[in-house]
């Protein structure tokens, strides 16, 4: 079979769907479903993976799937009964199969330490039987007995088709034609078996015996191949040409001498379209088809598979459309057209349509997080097995849809966080019991959509973060000064600091030299944020907030130090023109905004971005109250705000690498480029401890 790379992609995509179906089926079985359809669905998923994997010579996958499938086949034929042990093994086999698919996709060798024990467990259900390897595609002719040891100078093939021969869609003409291609051949037919009375004629019965003598044919292999499918559907005799005809055999008649009646029978050498006979006009079959016998398909969603590149082209075009729309808006403003002009109403329609198109295109890229979650379920199970912890895994909101790229790139960070949660978060059963908790820990994966963002939460009911230890480690590793005063949230954030790892000894699971900083970077790259909330003794929750789409966002257009920039609307709570009484000074440069009785640190964006100090006071500027995951709130001081509009996000990563504080760029209506601020990074760098340092400064001077 060919291994076109695009078909290999199709295969892995299909595998993903099949693994979902498999996992669903196994879950239903675990929940008590014993109906044939559930077992069948699981069987089919495994079977399909095996069948297609064979085409790409993915032998490890095929081998495992074969064993798995055989056990399932035993189960659906009721030769095995469902019990706890079987369900457990099937579950593990499902996990291993999924791992093997992933290993095959990533082109890495399978982890035999993981595969072999499950393979043995599967084999245990089968006993000693069925350990036969799959048969190769070979031409079989077991029913033929003749001596093909010596080379012959020619063969005589004589065959009389049975009734089934015709019923199975074979055509003697084609066989004769193929035999004629083997060498110079003479064909004759014996029609003595034809009924005397034409009325007795059964159109699909074989009355004729053909004899084909082929000269200069050294072996019978070609003949066997031709009769591969029909060797038991006809009276077949293959003999060397010089063997005398068996006594009593009917005299051979040359094909040309056939009586007229035979020539007109459709079973003869007439075109095969005339079976059944021409005098029976083809009648449309009664509709016994889908309506009558089709069970409603479980997942019968008709879907269209589109090359992702085409969608990306569309997304780019929509981006241009949105830019174009701002260009037109801006031109209209400059042209001093009266507000009453119909043009504005038209432009509003245009905006509406552009947004609708944009949402439509984004919806094409959206995918449910379900496959991702199911993969995570597996990872969680493996992690629980590996650590000997008893963990129940619960998922919510599996149907929440996220941009395809986001789903793909979330797998690694999520894997890491889940392993962490089970390895470090959830306690061992004895510890849990001692703490008065159920021995079984619970890990909850939740996906939900909240006002333009997707939130994914990984919550465990473990011991919670050990902040004293985190702090101590951070000091030890030189991440913070020994006397630093940190809030609980700041301590939690230390987990994401590069070079931080809480595991005292590196475990198999989470300690693979990848820290949570990599997790955070991965999420930030997707334009997302990650927050931690932890209650001692109750557990820890990591919340990942991601933009719904990566390509377009609602932004506030601002001015800082003479430059136009964009702040994501999603992080702005409100914009304020402060009064003098709202501003309090702290230290040399630090200023706080008092709002509704609370103090919020003010971050001067111009200062953060390296602009020369601005002499203007805060009251001349605009403060954007920013909500971030890292610092509760802060007020971002900007020079002015202009407008709120959709902007097309263009990544700068490819050309400039990651720039702290800047998440990307966009093109404005006037064709100028504006940088997009990453408020999270800006606020993080302005964490309140700066004020402490400032305070120390003041004290020292």
């Amino acid at each position: 079979m060919a291994t076109d790379p695009s078909i290999l992609d199709t295969f892995f995509e299909e595998c993903e769907d099949l693994i979902v179906a498999l996992t669903e089926g196994l879950t239903e079985m675990r929940d008590g479903a014993e109906d044939d359809e559930t077992v069948n669905a699981v069987f089919r998923a495994v079977h399909s993976i095996k069948g297609a994997a064979g085409a790409f010579a993915l032998d490890e996958l095929v081998g495992f799937a074969h064993k798995f499938e055989t056990v399932l086949d035993e189960l659906r034929s009721n030769r095995l009964t469902t019990d706890e042990n079987l369900l457990r093994v099937l579950q593990r086999a499902g996990d291993v199969l999924a791992d093997l698919v992933e290993a095959a996709r990533d082109n890495i060798p399978a982890n035999r330490d993981q595969v072999d024990p499950v393979l043995n467990e599967l084999q245990a259900f089968l006993g000693d039987e069925d350990d036969q390897p799959e048969e190769e595609f070979v031409f079989e002719a077991m029913t033929l007995d003749f001596d093909n040891a010596e080379e012959q100078s020619g063969y005589r093939v004589s065959f009389r088709p049975s009734h089934e021969f015709y019923a199975c869609g074979h055509d003697p003409e084609l066989l004769i034609k193929a035999l004629n291609e083997l060498g110079s051949a003479t064909t004759s037919v014996d029609d003595t078996a034809l009924p005397d009375d034409f009325g007795d004629f059964d159109w699909e019965s074989g009355y004729l015996t053909w004899t084909i003598e082929i000269e200069d044919l050294a072996t019978d292999l070609g003949i066997l191949e031709i009769f591969q499918f029909v060797d038991d559907l006809c009276d077949l005799k293959i003999s060397p040409r010089d063997t005398p005809l068996t006594p009593g055999a009917a005299p051979a008649i040359e094909l040309e001498d056939l009586p007229d009646i035979v020539q007109t029978t459709p079973i003869e050498v007439a075109p095969k379209d005339e079976h059944p006979p021409a005098d029976t006009p083809p009648v449309e079959a009664p509709s016994t088809g889908p309506k009558a016998d089709a069970k409603p398909a479980k997942r019968n969603a008709i879907s269209l598979r589109v090359d992702p590149e085409r969608v990306d082209r569309l997304i780019n075009a929509v981006g241009e459309l949105i830019i174009n729309q701002s260009v037109i808006s801006q031109r209209l403003e400059k042209a001093a057209i009266p507000n009453s002009s119909d043009l504005f109403a038209d432009l509003d329609d245009y905006k509406l349509l552009a947004r609708e198109i944009q949402e439509g295109v984004m919806a094409i890229r959206a995918q449910p997080v379900k496959p991702l979650f199911q993969r995570m379920l597996r990872i969680a199970r493996e992690a629980a097995d590996g650590t000997g912890k008893d963990v129940a895994i619960v998922t919510h909101g599996e149907n929440t849809e996220v941009d395809k790229t986001v789903v793909e790139r979330l797998a690694d960070p999520l894997t890491h966080m889940i392993r962490n949660a089970i390895d470090h978060g959830i306690e061992a059963p004895e510890q849990r019991k001692a703490a008065g908790k159920p021995a079984q820990g619970v890990l909850t994966l939740t996906a939900s959509q909240r006002s333009g963002s997707i939130v994914i939460e990984i919550a465990d009911d473990g011991a919670g973060l050990n902040r004293t230890r985190i702090r101590a480690i951070a000091v030890e590793k030189g991440l913070i000064p020994a006397d630093a005063t940190l809030s609980e949230q700041e301590i939690d954030q230390l987990l994401f600091a590069p070079g931080f790892s809480t595991a005292t000894e590196i475990t198999n699971l989470s300690g693979r030299g990848v820290g949570m900083d990599v997790v955070k970077t991965a999420i930030t790259t997707l334009g997302g944020r990650v927050a931690i909330s932890s209650v001692p003794g109750k557990g820890t929750t990591f919340s990942i907030t991601l933009p719904l789409t990566l390509a377009v966002m609602d932004g506030m257009i601002i001015n800082v130090g003479g430059q136009t920039m964009v702040v994501p609307i999603s992080s702005i709570l409100e914009s304020i023109r402060p009064n003098t009484s709202d501003i309090s000074r702290i230290g040399l440069h630090g200023e706080l905004l008092r709002i509704r009785g609370e103090y919020v640190p003010i971050v001067d964006l111009a200062d953060r971005l390296g602009h020369p100090p601005d002499k203007r006071t805060m009251t001349d500027r605009v403060l954007l109250l920013i909500q971030t995951e890292t610092v509760p709130q802060c007020a971002l001081a900007v020079d002015d705000i202009f407008d709120q509009r959709q902007v097309v996000v263009k990544s700068m990563q490819g050309n400039y690498g990651a720039i702290s504080g800047i998440s990307g760029a966009t093109i404005l209506g006037d064709g100028k480029i504006a940088l997009i601020i990453d408020p999270d990074a800006i606020a993080l760098n302005a964490a309140p401890r700066n004020f402490e340092e400032e305070a120390l400064h003041v004290a020292a001077s």
């Binding site: 669905a41 199975c168 089709a294």
Partner: protein
């Protein structure tokens, strides 16, 4: 006219592989995603040969052959069964169901094409 082949398999991958191999060999290929779809497409079109998978949702390959052989239209069409099953049992079952021939997965493109040419006279 090109030989028209109806390929029925619930696996996208196998459908792609079949389509690629058969179109390359100059056949006209229609695909169906399961047995029910396959029988429907068989009735709606004029296939010179049908290739069907065995294990499929809604209706399996043997059901497809039953429907074709039991129907009025073109019931003597050659039907190839495409399966991962091994020889002896498969042959028996395929034969009983009325299959014209069988191809074991993973199939060899050339062997498949030569079998099809032989069964259709193409």
């Amino acid at each position: 006219m090109k030989t028209r082949i109806l390929a029925i398999d619930d696996s996208r991958t196998i459908r792609s592989l079949l389509t690629m191999a058969l179109e390359k060999a100059g056949f006209d290929v229609t695909t169906a995603v399961d047995g029910v779809d396959g029988v429907q497409k068989f009735r709606d079109s004029d296939a010179d040969l049908v290739i069907t998978d065995v294990n499929m949702p809604n209706k399996d390959g043997f059901g497809v052959i039953d429907d074709i052989r039991g129907g009025e239209k073109n019931r003597a069409v050659p039907v190839l069964v495409l399966t991962t099953e091994s020889g002896a049992a498969l042959k028996e079952r395929a034969r009983a169901a009325g299959a014209t021939g069988w191809i074991v997965k993973p199939f060899d493109d050339d062997a498949l094409v030569s079998v099809i040419r032989r069964l259709t006279g193409a």
